[in-house]
Symmetry: C2
Subunit: 139 residues, 2 copies
């Protein structure tokens, strides 16, 4: 069994371009250039009442952007954990496959997620022990 | 010169899927399935202080979603105009090429835009008379 990749190679906080003028503000994520995928799906979380996430993906790549409020995202490679506080529209969090994530939104938060594939339940890993097994098999 | 296509064939209000439970709300736009393109770029407008838009695109296809507040989008095919009020996270507005748009955001609004191509200034039409010429040439 080889090394589990460092968490920092699986999850990256990326600066977004912001252009502000008399009309207001524009935030830009050139997803293809920034992350190397096109988004086949976009979803957004809001009305934060409790914890979300609690899963990993086998194949899906994602770029998460806090579009309002504050979002706390804890990512876990199976060996390392790190918590990101997304409270600015000036960053996006890229999450690669086989990373467990737990997400907490403030009541006013909107978290936008650009996803590399359409929804496919079979590529979700929803059990933490299975996640640990998949991490071991892949590394 | 053939007919200019009806505005309703160029601009479509599309229902998004919303899933609400004890954790909060999830809105989903399966962009590829819904609009037939993948988003190479995502941008978002906020801090609405004045009118935005005031242009058309030669090639770019877009899906616009009001993620907070209220957004008023007036679309113009060169023959017909229509104003959409986006004040719900349950719809997205698909805008195809060669449609002039004017956009007004409420101060608390966040408008998310999924775009089919990277930014390319040369495919913007920023002058209304040029827009009318392009419409005539294409139809």
């Amino acid at each position: 069994m080889s090394e589990i990749p460092p968490l920092d190679s699986l999850v990256r906080l990326l600066p977004l371009t912001t252009i502000s003028d008399a009309r207001g503000d524009l935030g830009v994520a050139e997803v293809k250039q920034l992350c190397g995928f096109s988004a086949e799906r976009f979803y957004f979380l809001y009305g934060g009442l409790g914890a979300r996430g609690g899963h990993a993906h086998r194949r899906l790549r994602q770029l998460m952007i806090s579009l309002a409020g504050q979002v706390e995202i804890t990512v876990d490679s199976g060996r390392e954990k790190k918590t990101y506080i997304l409270d600015s529209r000036k960053n996006g969090l890229e999450i690669n496959p086989v990373v467990w994530r737990d997400i907490v939104l403030s009541p006013d938060a909107v978290l936008g997620v650009l996803a590399s594939e359409p929804y496919d339940e079979s590529e979700y890993i929803r059990d933490y022990e299975t996640f640990r097994d998949v991490v071991s098999l892949h590394n």
